[in-house]
Each structure stands twice: as C-alpha cells, then as structure tokens.
Symmetry: C2
Subunit: 257 residues, 2 copies
C-alpha cells in the first residue's frame, strides 16, 4: 500500500503550530464551518504542527531567515503526504508566503488576501480600519497594500500599545494566559476604535482566541465596530478551494469505498 | 532537504478525523495541557484527519473490516512523516488497535488503557461505573476486561437508551448539532447514575464535546458523579510518552536552531 491516504476528495495541508493553539482553533473552525451531516462530509486535512520553528516576528524584525528551513521542511512533509493545497494559520508566516508559493506546485492560500477581500467588501463601506497584528506583520505590510488599493486606510496601535499590549497579549496567549491576554488586547482595540477605526482586523491568529466570538464568525458584528477574524477568513478560503477542487477532480481519481 | 521535519523533540502522530471535531478537541486539549511559556515549548504533532473512513461502529457491528485499509493507510502516512508514536482520538477505532500495533514498530497509545487506569485509581474507590460509548465499543468490550480485572463493574445504557440517546447523540455531534446532542446524552447519563453508576466514562471522543467541562480536565468532579473525559486521558498518556521520549533521545539527534 502506498503512503498516500485513500480519500475521496482533495486533502488540505495545514502548515501550523504557529502557534499551536491557533492551529487547534483553525481546525475547530474548519469543522464547524463545513456543511456536514456525518463525519464523511468533512474535509480531509493533514496538519503539520511543529511549534519548534523560531519566532516569525522576532526573526523578521532581526533580519533573520531562521524560520525558512522549518517552513520549507513542513511544506515538503505535507507534499509527500499528498495534500492538494496549503493553508498557514499564522499571519506573520505569510512574510515567507511568496517564497513558499515559489517552492511548490501546490496552491498556497493567503490569509491576508482572504481577510483584505472581506474588509473591502464589508457592506458598511469601511474607509479606515485598525490592524492588530505582530510587529513584523505590520512592518512587512502584509495588509497595507491590498487595503490601500481598495481605498481603505490602515491604522495601527501606537508604538507603546503595540509593544505593551498587542505583542504582550499575543505572548500571553502562547503561554496559555488567556485572561491576561484579553485585558491587554481589549484595551489596545479600544484605543484603535477611539482613533477612528471603523473595523478591526484580528491580523494574528492568536487574537481571535481572545477577541473573536464564541462561534465561528468571519466578522463579529456584536462589537462596537466589526472585528475581522482572519482564522475564520482563512477557513472560508479553504472551503472555497475544496469546493473548486472537488468540482475539478476527474471521476477516475475518486476513491471507491 | 529530506521530507522529515526539523524538530528538536519527538513528534506525535495523530490518527484522527474520527470524528473531525473530536480531533480538533484533542488538539486543543493537548495544547492547553502542556506546560509552556512559548510556542517552542509545545509538542510537535502531525495530524492525519481523514473523515472519509467508513463508520467504525457500523462496520464492526456488521462484521465489516471496511475501516482497516483507511487506518493502515493513515498509519503509513504518519510513519512517512517521521512521527515517534501514534495516538487515536477515537475509542471505537481501538477495536483495530492490536492490528495497528502489530503493523508498526511505533508505540500506539491506547485510549482505553489510559482511561481504565484513571477510573481504577480514582480516590473514591469506584466499584461500579457507567460506560457511555458507541455500541461497537460496548460490544467489543474495550473497557470491560481492564475494569473487571480492577474489581470494577461496568454498566451500560438500556438498549433503547443506547440507540435513541447515546448513538443519536453521537450522530448529532458529528452533524454539528451540539444542543440536540447535549439533551439526548444528558438524559442517558442521568439514567446510568440512577442505576447506580458511581462514575461515568465518556468512552467516545464526541461525548466530552457536550458532557465534558469547559476546560481540560481528566475527570470532571462538578457533576453528580465524576465524568471521565477519555480525550483528556489520551492527552495525558501522550504527554507521558513525550516526556519519556525526550528523556530517552540521544543528544546527537536534537536539532540545533
């Protein structure tokens, strides 16, 4: 028997572990967002969750490429396992997205594109949104260009809020301190709204764990302004990929049970 | 570069997707149960979540071996990905545990052994526990022998409760109907307690999703009787494996960052 899994539909590859709780959150949201009446209706997924990869934000800001061999290795493991596309539930890792996409024939979905589209098409016609993300995601302008092209200004926390609230809050999630994280992150969110943000992008997959809604929701409208859950928006892009891929799959490739 | 992941610790292989929400629950509990102050402290995991595998309970009860090639294929994918042990967050799939263990050199952790040990060592000295599980797990006596050897009687729901409440409740979880599932399963649990169960084994990984506590807890003592969460008890066994494996790992195999 070959190492490839018998599966009757294309398999999603998840390059995860960045951080591991965000990957588990992505998995839950993927399952809960899939129309299904039984196990077999759900998307087959292989998840490479290896959190030993060096911190993406610290590395990028220090001009270090240390995460790259880990990302490439994870990509190769997923390719070998037979996946049909790659999703990366970590915004900061998308600073290496173009290189990953160039290193494989597989489609590598882009969390920032998925989220930017949702922001640009929000029915309220947003013109100014706040970006909560790692310092590297901000510095690397993962969201800025796409949103400015759509006529949307991006505002970010003050340097002090970014360091003492956003980055400290993200670190608290990674350390399991969800209550500490909630209070740190909520205050940074409030100040962005006070500064005129008409919506907030939760542009780090740790953030929806404390600022997102309880149930999967691309855009939590119960807040003072809409909060865009980038984990959930990546899930939406994965479901769209799965739907396209199943439709394009030759009948002869399907696995007979 | 080889397909093996660069990791500084042994990788856990998860043979999952049975069902997919239970696998996501296992991942969350694994992360939240790991002592960690940063991403890199967490266990590396490779998850094979392919829910297209035929239903384990239906197959076993019909005398069909249909799940076997899917289980074996999943095992091979995990072996190829370089994992050091296998965990299966599905009680019913353990009807094939002995064959899986015989088919690989890897350690295949056993959810039933982990849970039976916890029940047998509970400080209350339980002598009679209720088993909530799929009909195949009951029929296949995954829990009966180990618990009887420990002097503990196992009681199960009436045939009608098993069909109309337990199996219907498990199916409701798999279809995303958590509220329906809660009411079906709670009533079956209550009747087992009325019948003298001094503790309840949530012997199907769908059950802790509706009957377990909100936070990871091997044994929820806030109920009328302790509820044993087999997902969480498998997590505990995985953490023990990881600890043993890291201690046994030759220094030369560690990955230098």
């Amino acid at each position: 028997m070959s190492a490839a899994a018998p599966a009757c539909s294309p398999i999603l590859g998840v390059l995860g572990g960045m951080g591991p709780l965000a990957t588990a959150d992505f998995m839950r949201k993927l399952v809960q967002s899939t129309p299904a009446t039984k196990d077999q209706d759900h998307m087959p997924v292989f998840v490479h969750s290896v959190p030993q990869i060096p911190d993406r934000s610290e590395s990028f800001l220090a001009g270090s490429d240390a995460p790259w061999p880990f990302l490439l290795s994870g990509l190769r493991v997923l390719e070998t396992a037979g996946v049909g596309a790659i999703a990366i539930p970590c915004n900061t890792a998308h600073l290496w997205h173009a290189r990953l996409a160039a290193a494989t024939d597989l489609e590598v979905l882009h969390i920032g594109s998925a989220a930017s589209e949702a922001v640009a098409s929000h029915p309220a016609g947003l013109t100014r949104v706040g970006l909560m993300a790692t310092s590297a995601t901000i510095e690397g302008r993962i969201y800025h260009e796409a949103l400015r092209a759509a006529g949307i200004d991006v505002i970010v926390p003050s340097a002090r809020d970014q360091s003492e609230h956003v980055m400290a809050g993200i670190a608290a999630v990674k350390a399991g301190g969800l209550d500490t994280a909630t209070s740190l992150l909520q205050s940074a969110a409030t100040r962005l709204i006070d500064d005129g943000a008409q919506g907030l992008i939760l542009g780090c997959t740790e953030l929806p764990l404390v600022l997102g809604g309880a149930s999967p929701d691309e855009c939590n409208e119960s807040r003072a302004v809409p909060f865009f859950d980038t984990t959930q928006l990546l899930v939406k892009a994965c479901l769209a990929w799965w739907s396209r891929s199943k439709a394009a799959q030759p009948r002869s490739e399907s696995f007979s049970q």
